[in-house]
């Protein structure tokens, strides 16, 4: 099929439409999904697939998640839409204690093919209860898979893979990316494996690891750096748990320098995990500390200016890359000292 330029929010809907059409066991549950939800991601699906498969739910996240876990255990493939990722807090017991564990606890007898779509991120001055990026919590829970797309094509391909997956997958969508357009192919070939990082921009001087909206920011940072003659390689992680560590390590072994950029709070964030893995497995290749660029250790402030200050920008990522390049090479220095 030929690629057409569509918005990410439309790519998400197309992915659901494709899987709903392909598999009668796929159902969609969420608040106001019959009318498209707050951002239109599910608009029109009820007309096409009927009220039995596209179901509005009460504002009862815990019960809805539990219902979906039970439905998945009994043979359906539910897609649950959590209107804002912040509200996943209300369903966390069902996700952590049930969805993530039932295959394991039952010794492999149960399968929970559940997809949970969550819209996340800071934009639009929604404040502390509607803006969080909470992927580190979910990536910490064995049994959950977590993915996040930065392009409409990946939003399509990852969501289709998630719906087909035999285990619970959390799909994180960034609302600031919903209206961005990109080429999207719609077919089996467009499905993206869940744990597959991709090099968005090749480079030789430093590696930037990012995901979701921060990949867009990282690419802007790479443009800034290219103007200075610095060639940064930008990796879009896409799969956050499990993670394609091999692609990251291969890049860092070539460049010797790494920056991890994400929008979530830095302390205890997924960036720490990426940095720790690089430090463990590419220690000898590292010529500078792995820098983390992330949100500060505060809730998301509401004021537009404070919100902008909260979200890392391209300048911050570029500055971190420059810092890694400004480091003297410790190995070279010790060699020189040894002479």
């Amino acid at each position: 099929m030929t690629a057409t330029e569509i918005r990410m929010v439309d790519a998400i809907r197309e992915a659901m439409r494709a899987e709903l059409a392909a598999d009668p066991s796929v159902v969609l549950l969420g608040e106001d999904v019959s009318v498209g939800g707050p951002f239109g991601a599910t608009k029109g699906l009820q007309d096409e697939f009927g009220a039995a498969r596209i179901r509005d739910t009460p504002i009862s996240e815990a019960a809805v998640m539990g219902l979906a876990v039970g439905a998945a255990a009994a043979g359906l493939r539910p897609i649950v839409e959590i209107m804002f990722m912040d509200f996943a807090t209300l369903a966390l017991d069902q996700l952590v204690n049930h969805a993530a564990k039932l295959r394991y606890m039952s010794g492999g007898q149960l399968s929970i093919p559940l997809t949970v779509r969550m819209q996340a991120g800071a934009s639009g001055a929604f404040g502390a209860h509607h803006s969080q990026s909470l992927e580190a919590w979910l990536a910490h829970v064995p049994g959950l898979k977590v993915v996040a797309a930065s392009t409409p094509a990946d939003a399509y391909g990852l969501l289709r893979a998630a719906i087909r997956d035999p285990d619970p997958v959390v799909v994180i969508e960034h609302r600031a990316l919903y209206w961005g357009r990109g080429p999207v192919e719609t077919g089996e070939a467009a499905i993206v494996p869940l744990a597959s990082a991709v090099v968005r921009r090749p480079g030789i001087d430093a590696t930037i690891v990012s995901w979701s909206r921060m990949t867009v920011t990282a690419l802007a940072a790479a443009d800034l750096l290219a103007a200075e003659g610095i060639q940064a390689e930008v990796i879009d992680l896409r799969g956050l748990q499990p993670m394609d560590t091999a692609t990251v390590l291969a890049s860092v072994r070539r460049t010797g320098r790494a920056v991890v950029a994400h929008e979530a709070v830095g302390f205890g964030g997924l960036g720490a995990e990426v940095a720790a893995r690089i430090g463990e497995d590419a220690f000898d290749a590292l010529r500078a500390p792995v820098e983390r660029v992330a949100a500060p250790f505060t809730p998301v402030p509401a004021a537009p200016d404070l919100e902008r200050a909260f979200v890392p920008d391209a300048a911050a990522i570029a500055a971190a890359v420059r810092r890694t390049l400004a480091r003297p090479d410790p190995r070279r220095r010790s060699l020189e000292e040894g002479r």
Binding site: D86, T89, L90, L92, D93, V96, N97, A100, K101, Y104, M105, G127, A128, H129, L134, A136, W137, A139, H140, V141, P142, G143, Q241, M243, A264, V265, F267, G268, G269, L270, G271, A272, E273, A275, A276, G279, E280, D281, F283, D284, L286, A288, P289, V290, E291, R292, P296, F297, T298, P299, P301, A302, R327, P328, P330, R331, R333, S334
Partner: protein, 328 residues
């Protein structure tokens, strides 16, 4: 005097109840189902009306604790087994953690949430959680994670005196471990790590029960001639980075031992922050000893296989001692 950890807890609770009439205990499973549960009964007897046994409603009574804290009490809310905190999650992370910040500093929430974390033996997947890494990623909470009778007693006082929410995390396997208690009450400040054992060859940063396991490992390493320094952060938020970095600055080698799952665990943050700020001092890769990325299995052999043990700590210490990189 010598006392077990559970006695330190009970003494800490007794002291804050006696000193401050605003302190209430909401919940009564501070000691789980262990033999120490009689200590709660004694507190109920000695402080009538100050210990409330709430319904099985974690969202409801965690929120009750928050509201009570806003309106003048200093509640210690016992969520009991840490796995149950996921039921209370929206109250702990969405409400308590955010309120001071969201209100621009107008309203404080001096509440303490108590949980008992970790692999306790036969707890399986739904009674063995160590959720501290997830809580650590939540700005607005403070997290105390003591490892000795003295620390738990002193940190309880700090937690109750704080004007902001605190999650107090115990490990059930600490309850019977003996230690020294000073005669007088003391307050152990937030964000001050404690070097539990001095050493020059490598640094082991460990938390909660793993401090005790690391001390055992350090004794065995000493018998081989390897001197390990054991650093206990005591509070995860705020984290005393300076003490950790100074220790690694001296030893050049670091093992982090924590019972959270490896991915995005407490160990990841400590490893990443040391690699950032003590890069030139590091002479070997940082090794994390953590619980493997699987739910906790029930059977004893599998439980042992997935969790940090003295043997795994020793193996990690050997690995960082073998790796060689000249100092930068």
């Amino acid at each position: 005097m010598t006392a077990v950890y559970a006695d330190g807890m009970a003494l800490g609770l007794r002291e804050v109840l006696a000193e401050d009439p605003r302190v209430y205990l909401m919940g009564q499973y501070f000691f789980g189902l262990t033999r120490h549960r009689r200590l709660t009964v004694e507190l109920m007897r000695d402080f009538p009306g100050r210990v409330w046994n709430p319904p099985i409603a974690e969202v409801g009574y965690a929120g009750t604790g928050i509201g009570a804290a806003i309106s003048g009490l200093r509640p210690i809310v016992d969520i009991a087994t840490a796995s149950f905190i996921f039921q209370a999650w929206p109250q702990v992370v969405n409400e308590a953690a955010n309120i001071r910040y969201m209100t621009g500093g107008q309203t404080g929430v001096p509440v303490v949430f108590h949980i008992t974390h970790g692999i306790r033996g036969g707890g399986a997947s739904q009674h063995s959680h160590s959720p501290q890494a997830m809580l650590m990623n939540t700005p607005g909470l403070q997290i105390i994670s003591p490892s000795t009778a003295r620390d738990v007693r002193g940190l309880i006082r700090a937690a109750v005196q704080s004007d902001d929410p605190v999650v107090w995390i115990d490990h059930v396997k600490l309850f019977d471990i003996e230690g020294e208690l000073p005669d007088a009450p003391e307050t152990i400040p937030m964000g001050v790590a404690d070097i539990k054992r001095r050493g020059t060859d490598l640094t082991i940063v460990a938390t909660s029960l793993q401090v005790q396991r690391s001390l055992v490992a350090a004794e065995r390493l000493a018998a081989e001639g390897i001197q390990a320094e054991v650093v206990d952060p005591r509070t995860l938020v705020p984290l005393d980075r300076a003490t950790i970095l100074q220790s690694v600055g001296r030893t050049g080698r670091l093992v982090v031992v924590d019972e959270c799952h490896r991915s995005c665990g407490v160990g990841a943050e400590i490893a990443a922050t040391v690699a950032e700020d003590a890069f030139d001092a590091l002479r070997a890769p940082i090794i994390r000893v953590a619980t493997e990325d699987v739910p906790i299995p029930f059977s004893r052999t599998m439980e042992e296989a997935v969790q940090p043990t003295v043997e795994k700590i020793i193996a990690a210490a050997h690995a960082v001692m073998e790796a060689r990189r000249p100092r930068g």
